[in-house]
């Protein structure tokens, strides 16, 4: 009977539903373990938006080595990523692209706003082409201030995010 119900067209719907049911079932007992897994494998999207990307690059350099905290160097496809580090100014041209990237990422996803420009517009508060912060585009989890933030600050921001994930429900979105 199950065989008749599942066709190649709707197979992925069934798998998704099954995943939902499973997740709900194991949320209570195993939520901590799931979150633990998420904490140590945060993959940022490779999207550079402005000059803070220099310090983001420096954070994964040998001296700061952000990988030892489980935040892997930005690489690979955005379908496998669960973190956007918005590296600086979002201009009016970049904003729809940023939203598009965010929409294409799988749940759960987290956002770090890096630098004063991403938080409030910063130095470019009166520029005609810069958004006053990214809150209007995507929801932000952690704000990392600085212009640009030192790599240590970015690492601390990532650790704060890990703290936050630890306290989240494993099943974040219903």
């Amino acid at each position: 009977m199950l065989k008749d119900l599942i066709t190649p067209e709707n197979a992925n719907v069934f798998v998704g539903k099954l995943g939902d049911i499973l997740e709900k079932a194991i949320d209570k007992p195993l939520g901590y373990a799931i979150n633990w897994g998420r904490i140590w494998s945060l993959w940022p999207v490779h999207i550079e938006t402005a000059c803070c990307s220099v310090e983001f690059g420096a954070a994964s350099s040998p001296r700061y080595d952000v990988e030892r905290f489980g935040i892997i160097e930005a690489f690979g496809s955005l379908r496998q990523c669960d973190l956007i580090v918005v590296q600086g100014t979002i201009t009016r041209k970049m904003a729809p692209r940023l939203r598009l990237v965010y929409d294409q990422m799988p749940e759960p996803k987290y956002v770090i706003a890096m630098g004063a420009c991403a938080i409030t517009g910063g130095l470019y508060f009166d520029s005609y082409n810069v958004l006053p912060g990214i809150d209007g585009v995507i929801p932000v989890d952690v704000y990392v201030p600085g212009c640009p933030p030192r790599p240590e600050t970015l690492i601390q921001g990532c650790m704060l995010l890990q703290e936050k994930i630890k306290r989240m429900k494993a099943r974040k979105f219903v």
Binding site: V45, H46, I47, E48, T49, A50, C51, S53, V54, E55, G57, A58, S60, S61, P62, R63, A74, F75, G76, L78, T89, T91, K93, M94, P96, R97, L100, V101, D103, L123, Y124, D126, S127, Y128, N129, V130, C147, P148, R150
Partner: protein
């Protein structure tokens, strides 16, 4: 989810064989820009660079700030080369206001700008390594540039955005014992970058991937108005530090590096050779620098320029960097225009990529010594 895409995001279909690809702005091989390439199989038929993702209106903002408060935001386009991007602006303001800079400040400026050139080039080299999938080449330069960042941090107090140059000199004097530390770090740095030849420049895989790709001939380099390492890799000996020496470059001992091939390999090699010359300049400047003296001329608050315009240019990490300032007897400049090397080199990209394989795109693109944030301003 939106059903209708905003303008510029939709792909257009050209013909049966030819496919349009958007490379960027979210792509490991694009940086902060989009390159629209049309490919026929594996070969690029046409290429249309689409910069502007970091266009922040620096030139408009400069009209609302006075000559001194313009400094912090004008260095943001290239924060890892911030001394060099401020240099023409500061020189121009000095000419407008008629300020003579103390001798020691000139030497400090030269040292700072050469250190910054190395910091910039190392970051560029690290990203070039990433573009070619050479992870060691990311780790080595990204680690070694911290040495020089430490020096700049000692000198100015900030890791990357120094805002160290001001009209009339530099913001503050060198810290005590700086000369010895600088000499030691620079000597070690030079030893390190010579080792890059073994893993990167003599690497047969790199040579196979970059040699004879994206060849820019001498005539075309001149015709397209390219600048900096792109120009020098095509056999034109043009370095503003030699040709139009500003501050104390005419008293220092160095040479320019010119390669004839004009391919991606030569373009990636020239900045590396330039770094060794930078080390030489720094050592030479440390030797010749006056050991004491003033480093800054005090300005009046809100200085006003005359009814005049100046165009000053310097050699930055990416080539000639010009600044055109128009003043109209007000504390704010009437117009500031930055003519940056990245923007000038971008014009060569569609030209070089035509007929190239798609796999060669990242290496050709990044060998243009291009920093998108600077090009967009």
């Amino acid at each position: 989810m939106t059903t209708e895409l905003p303008p510029g995001l939709a792909l257009q279909k050209v013909d049966e064989r030819i496919m349009t690809l958007n490379v960027g702005p979210q792509h490991p091989g694009s940086g902060h820009m989009r390159i629209i390439v049309q490919i026929d199989g594996d070969y690029i038929v046409a290429c249309d660079p689409d910069p502007g993702y970091v266009h922040r209106g620096e030139e408009k903002m400069a009209e609302y700030r006075n000559y001194i408060t313009n400094i912090p935001h004008l260095e943001r386009p290239v924060i890892h080369d911030s001394c060099n991007i401020l240099y023409p602006y500061v020189l121009g303001v000095e000419e407008l206001l008629g300020i003579e800079v103390p001798e020691r400040a000139k030497y400090i400026r030269v040292i700072a700008s050469e250190l910054n050139r190395c910091i910039y080039t190392m970051y560029w080299l690290a990203i070039y390594g990433i573009f070619l999938g050479h992870s060691t080449m990311f780790m080595w330069p990204a680690g070694d540039r911290e040495l020089l960042i430490d020096l700049m941090e000692k000198m100015s107090g900030a890791r990357v955005t120094h805002a160290h140059f001001v009209p009339g000199g530099v913001r503050n004097d060198l810290p005590p014992n700086f000369e010895d530390v600088c000499l030691r770090q620079v000597n070690y740095f030079e030893k390190r970058i010579k080792e890059y030849a073994a893993i990167f420049y003599d690497n047969p895989i790199l040579i196979a991937r970059t040699e004879k790709t994206g060849i820019l001939s001498r005539q075309d380099a001149i015709r397209l108005g390219t600048t900096g390492s792109v120009l020098r890799a095509s056999g034109v000996d043009y370095d503003l530090r030699k040709k139009e020496p500003y501050d104390v470059y005419d008293e220092l001992d160095f040479q320019t590096n010119v390669l004839k091939e004009g391919d991606s390999y030569a373009r990636s090699k020239v900045p590396w050779l330039d770094m060794m010359e930078s080390c030489r300049i720094i050592r030479n400047a440390l030797e010749k620098m006056p050991k004491s003296g003033s480093v800054r001329v005090k300005l009046k608050p809100n200085p006003k320029g005359g009814d005049d315009s100046v165009y000053k240019r310097v050699e930055s990490g990416r080539g000639s960097l010009g600044c055109y300032i128009v003043s109209d007897k007000k504390p704010e400049p009437y117009r500031v225009k930055l003519s940056v090397g990245s923007f000038r080199n971008l014009i060569a990209l569609p030209y070089l990529l035509k007929g190239e394989k798609l796999g060669n795109m990242p290496s050709v693109y990044w060998s243009l010594n291009y920093w998108p944030v600077e090009a967009d301003r």
